[in-house]
Amino acid sequence: MARLERGARETRRGTEKGGVPPSEVRMRWGMVIDLRKCVGCQTCTIACKQEHALPPELFWRYVVDTEVGEYPDVKRLFVPMGCMHCANPPCVPVCPTGASQQRQDGIVWVQYDLCVGCGYCAVACPYRARHLIHDEQWYFPGGPTPSEARTADPERRGVMTKCTFCMHRIDAADPGARPGVDPAATPVCAGSCIANAIHFGDLDDPLSPVSRLLKDGKAVRLLEELDTDPSVYYILE
């Protein structure tokens, strides 16, 4: 528990430099997505859009609908996609302003007030997880709806945006709360998944739910050959 509290303190600090946690704090938030359970309902997609008040056409989390195999041995696969929060993120060192940062708990995020919206991080990201918001657009003609007016974030206009692993939830969690276990401290996509396919937790904690899921070594990651060391794992079979 003390380790978790230390990690939470680090999380709150939101340090700019990252990649390798300091010697005492070993913590790396990650996700394990069980594709055997995902039904492609897009609840995570909508929950993410609602949580972050994302504008039209912008999705930090989405589910890809794919077909695996060759006829007649074919099956359908739903793959929730988003930022992989890589331990070795290609998007962070290329950023010329320092807006793209990696926290000591592994979360990769964008400090909006530094970003110039050059798009360099987006072309560096092999997972296409970064999205530039150019200018204001609303769901309906004639300006924002009352709800949009309430939730719109002018800071996000003209800058790069991406999944944050809902770090605002992790940072605001009560002391002792366990992200990945307590819903209020868990990324909303994981908390809202109707099939319990998305699991969140500390990859460095051998007792966390995500570490237990990874124990049998069957989980895989996307584009592993690029050595980005993604923090999102998928269980295929």
Binding site: P93, V94, G119, A122, A124, P126, H131
Partner: protein
Amino acid sequence: MIILPAERQKLWGPLAVANFVLGGMGAGAYVMATFLSGFFRLPRLIIVVSILLVVLGFLCVSVEAGRPFRGPNVLRKIGSSWMSRELWAGGAFVGLALVDMVAPAFWLRLLSLVAALLFILCQGLILFDARGIPAWNHPLVPVLFLTSGLLTGAAFLAMIDGMAGRSALPTAGLIGLNVFVWVGYLIQPRDRAFRDATRPLRGGMALAGILGLGHVVPLAVLAVGGSAGSLLVSVFALLGGILLKASLVLRAGQFRPVAFAAGQSTRVLGAPVAAPNEGRN
């Protein structure tokens, strides 16, 4: 097992290409003029035009940025970002060349020259560091930017300052070098993502435009007519340089497929939700 197929990037458009073309041409013209004029007798016109081209390139790319008025922030990460280094090198070139123009000095000219070369290399390394785009993430891209920048610089020089007589041989050499690097880049037996992304560059139109018009024609004109056809050589070499960078950024600039591992085929059934890199709000 491919989850997301390759997709053309839409983040960097013609304005980014303009930065690469104008910047490479401006800095390349300065470097070539310095050598061709025997280092010390560099005409002022060349210095002014080189600086203007580099600045114009920066202006073009700043228009494409989402928050152009935060431009000075780009200087913050010289330790890790090639884009930051590009601005530092470009800024250093502009500053040093301006001072050299007002109060000429050997060391100023030497530093300007180094800054100009670094600036061209930084532009190529910007693309090389973009790991999402297999056609850019190739070690020959910075070399290609260097040879292409020098070639377009030499061609531009011949157009504006009558250095055609002196620049004919170096231009021919640079054309040969550029062809060598370009062909080497295209025939690299890299992974499938690279081969698929660069397929448009090996197509008939690209070969005819970049290699044919941009390199073979000027080389032939140089061989036949010497300096008499210098304007023709310059125009075609410039055209080739523009086509090369535009094709590399706009046509070959596609994201690599996102996959678990090779060997299993998948087909995306539908796009329940799009995953645009560019949103509007």
